[in-house]
């Protein structure tokens, strides 16, 4: 994969060190940021440095990390908590898994730095049960850090104590949302609650709690060591540093990349990703997972940062980037995400529980060729209502895949509705099998194999398919030896 456009900060150690050896990490300046914070900077200057660096949360929201720490530091309580969000629920993303598997100590060190800064002595990592290797590596790393006195009591001879425990997710996307995550850690159903109160005031066990994402944490030790100015010099005006993306889908080089904020989609897809697979034509790139949207050719020169992606109708999200080509039907893609949302909605509030189900049903109707122009208005109105009224971030963003595909691929919606046609041949109800009279030799093999007798024709004469009877099983297409049958 092309490396000249990439810059590794969060992934600096991944694939370079042995993640099961703390000495490897220490050799590469590991835990010296924690030492610097405890021995030299103190809490106020550390938080100040974090604010000046411009680091924003990599879990999706992009909230300034330094500011979040400052708020948590100012809430007084007998116990506070640092939580690492390793739930990584976006179905198409694996950045956090790679950091935890490849460099677990950087997350542990950063959690301790956060604990010192806000006055917390306990850390919790909420990690998906689907990531057994990451769990194993984290456990090994935590034990080694304890042996070396980097977790536990009186770290670096100071009066700062800090230790970390693991909590496991159990397969619920909504648990990535921080209030739901906290309820899940308490052993309850992972349902979100209204904010405020924010976790920084009342979080885990009703104590002030600072929640940050894995990648956010992985950026922190280098920022402390190299300084706020260094970090702020990388990236775009309002989004500093780099972002890790998981490139997947119809692209030649799939895998993880880390690029400075402000890199364009074109550079990511063509220079780094090596372009579209099998020489096909680029159609769309989906960012932000179920909360994001589909961007198209006209966005290729958009510089990637939090604000530009929102302006374009999508979202940074956690970093999943799924590339789509001419064979993908954008109405089906919107339906795919809505199906996900319907399944993952916790059901607590009506707009999300029922509204998304209705959105899904309308999309289903359109992909079956039964949609009307009225349905398009309904889709848009209902989407906007859900966005405005849902309780948590899941519902507030779930209509984005619908709205962005309507904005960028309206012609495909119109084709499904008016011409009953799916140009990508993905919508089964709309596909048509057609026999080309020029190619057909009248061998009769198709007619003999059709399960519903939809094919008529005399021997040695061109055959035809009765579309009203055809159930689109595709048998004739497979059986024809003369390539006379095509799918439209």
């Amino acid at each position: 994969m092309a490396t000249h456009k990439q810059l590794r900060i969060a992934l600096r150690n991944c694939g370079v060190i042995d993640p099961e050896k703390i000495t490897d990490y220490i050799e590469r300046d590991g835990y010296s940021a924690l030492a610097k914070v405890i021995n030299e900077l103190g809490t106020v200057r550390t938080i100040d440095l974090m604010k000046k660096s411009g680091l924003r949360g990599r879990g999706g929201g992009g909230f300034p990390t330094g500011l979040k720490w400052e708020i948590a530091s100012k809430n007084y309580a007998d116990q506070k908590y640092v939580v690492c969000n390793a739930d990584e629920g976006d179905p198409g993303a694996f950045m956090d898994r790679s950091v935890l598997e490849g460099d677990p100590h950087s997350v542990i060190e950063a959690m301790a730095i956060c604990g010192f800064s806000i006055g917390a002595t306990k850390g919790l990592v909420y990690i998906r049960a689907e990531y057994p290797l990451a769990i194993e590596r984290l456990k090994i790393a935590i034990n080694q850090a304890r042996e070396y006195g980097l977790l536990g009591k009186n770290i670096f001879g100071s009066d700062f104590d800090f230790d970390i425990e693991l909590r496991y997710g159990a397969g619920a996307f909504v648990c990535g949302e921080e209030t739901a995550l906290i309820h899940s850690m308490e052993g309850k159903r992972g349902e979100p609650t209204v904010k405020p109160p924010f976790p920084a005031e009342s979080g885990y066990l009703e104590k002030p709690t600072n929640v940050n994402n894995v990648e956010t944490f992985a950026n922190i030790p280098p920022i402390i060591l190299k300084g706020a100015e260094w970090f702020a010099s990388i990236g775009s005006e309002k989004s500093k540093g780099t972002k890790v993306f998981a490139l997947a889908g119809k692209i030649n080089n799939v895998g993880l990349i880390e690029v400075p904020m402000g890199t364009t989609l074109r550079e990511v897809i063509y220079d780094i990703g090596g372009g579209i697979k099998d020489g096909k034509e680029f159609k769309a790139v989906q960012t932000g997972g179920p909360s994001g949207g589909c961007l198209t050719k006209k966005h290729l020169d958009t510089a990637i940062d939090y604000d530009n992606l929102i302006a374009a109708g999508s979202m940074m999200g956690s970093g999943g980037m799924v590339v789509m080509d001419e064979d993908d039907c954008m109405v089906s893609i919107a339906k795919f995400y809505l199906e996900f949302t319907v399944e993952e909605s916790c059901g607590k509030c009506t707009p999300c529980r029922i509204g998304n189900k209705r959105l899904f049903e309308i999309l289903e109707k359109i992909t079956e060729g039964k949609g009307t122009m009225e349905d398009l208005d309904k889709l848009r109105n209902l989407s906007n209502t859900i966005k405005d009224t849902a309780l948590c971030g899941l519902g507030q963003t779930s209509p984005n895949p619908v709205l962005s595909t309507m904005d960028n691929f309206m012609d495909e919606y119109l084709e499904h509705i008016n011409e009953k046609r799916c140009r990508a041949s993905q919508c089964k109800a709309l596909t048509r099998y057609i026999i080309d009279a020029e190619q057909c030799t009248g061998c009769t093999i198709c007619a003999r194999n059709c399960p519903v007798n939809a094919i008529k024709g005399e021997r040695k004469q061109p055959h035809t398919i009765n579309q009203d009877i055809c159930i689109k099983c595709g048998v004739c297409y497979e059986k024809c030896k003369f390539n006379a049958i095509s799918v439209k």
């Binding site: 179905p91 909590r167 619920a172 889908g249």
Partner: protein, 160 residues
């Protein structure tokens, strides 16, 4: 809910020990359920009742948590549980067709187990192996770049 079963004495003690290893803390319910499921393979009503008693919470609370999280199951899975990833990357690379093929061959739906108890099918949302899409797991074994035509061969490995 789930089928009625009777927990053997030995298993009952193991379950109580699991609860005890988490100090019978109700806040540890999810950790307890994870351990219990890996020991029993699934979480039938009887297991949930014992856990409720040990952690001093209502059975309804335990059931509420079990039914909320897709990782927990109240039905026994097959000897070789098949999980088809339906994450975005797998979806655009044709995972749905692979799933259809498994359903066709085994003649069961998602969430069901074959009559001989050998195979069950479930769907996953991204195992984080998007580079290998579409991905199928049989037990802990991962199969990458699975094509519908390859489904027969995968099943054959376990039908020997």
């Amino acid at each position: 809910m789930a089928a009625k079963i009777k927990i053997p004495e030995r298993k009952l003690q193991e379950l109580k020990d699991i609860c005890k290893s988490f100090n019978n803390e109700k806040g540890e319910l999810i950790n307890v359920l994870h351990k219990a499921q890996s020991s029993f393979g699934y979480l039938p009503a009887e297991v949930q009742e014992v856990i409720a008693q040990e952690l001093n919470v209502s059975v309804a609370h335990v059931f509420g948590v079990v039914s909320f999280y897709t990782f927990f199951t109240m039905k026994p899975k097959g000897e070789f549980p098949i999980s088809v990833c339906l994450g975005t990357a797998c979806y655009v690379r044709g995972a749905e067709k692979v799933l259809e093929e498994f359903k066709k061959h085994l003649k069961i739906q998602v969430g069901e187990t074959t009559a001989d108890g050998k195979f069950s099918i479930s769907c996953l949302r991204c195992v984080g192996a998007c580079g290998l899409a579409p991905v199928v797991m049989v037990g802990d074994k991962v199969y990458g770049r699975v094509a519908p035509e390859g489904v027969k061969d995968i099943l054959a490995e376990y039908n020997g």
